[in-house]
């Protein structure tokens, strides 16, 4: 599957990011499609606690751990020990563990990272032609 990069407001020329449309499922309910950041530098997937609220998951009762940003600063995450399903182009992938955080920046409320995402598919960032090539394993 091929997905184009997304151009967002930035300084004079805008900024291009690898966001792809993904629908999330949890226990029989599902979301609209979201543009989700594909982040090879993230150890694991992180989602805004708004997504937990949407699925009626009581995230404040989940175990709290810390994630560290690139500058070493910690932020909160709450770990759900069951799968969230990410539907990409009709393919369904089980993402686990699921980290919910109330501290994600507004531009990146949904991040798919290495653990249990990059090992489920082959992802090639072809930025030179504004394309993300994703193949489910």
């Amino acid at each position: 599957m091929n997905f184009p990069y997304v151009k967002l407001p930035g300084d004079t020329r805008g900024v291009l990011k690898p966001y792809i449309p993904i629908r999330y499922h949890y226990k029989g309910s599902f979301t609209k499609e979201f543009l989700t950041l594909i982040d090879s530098g993230a150890d694991a997937s992180h989602f805004t606690t708004q997504l937990a609220d949407f699925f009626h998951i009581d995230w404040k009762r989940l175990p709290e751990l810390k994630t560290f940003a690139a500058n070493g600063e910690p932020f909160r995450r709450y770990v759900l020990d069951s799968s969230l399903v990410a539907e990409i182009g009709g393919h369904k992938l089980n993402i686990k563990p699921v980290n919910f955080s109330p501290d994600l920046a507004g531009a990146f409320p949904l991040i798919l990272g290495q653990e249990n995402f990059f090992d489920l598919c082959r992802i090639t960032f072809e930025r030179y032609k504004w394309n993300i090539d994703l193949k489910i394993r």
Partner: protein, 63 residues
């Protein structure tokens, strides 16, 4: 070469919360401060849409 999806203009006036854009990515069809609110507002329109985070800054991040 692909053409990127260009949301630069249609997101320019949306600085927080969520925006639902049409499936062809050409227009904003609903907004909301939370996922639930934008979903409800999108469903009221009867249109299909893709949800996009709205932010005052998308640039110069290391994630």
């Amino acid at each position: 070469m692909n053409q990127p999806i260009n949301l630069e203009k249609i997101l320019k006036n949306h600085k927080s919360g969520w925006v639902a854009v049409s499936k062809d990515y050409k227009e904003v069809v609903a907004t909301g401060q939370t996922i639930k609110e934008v979903t409800d507002n999108l469903e009221k329109t009867g249109k299909e849409g893709v949800l996009v985070p709205a932010a005052d800054n998308y640039q110069n991040f290391v994630t």
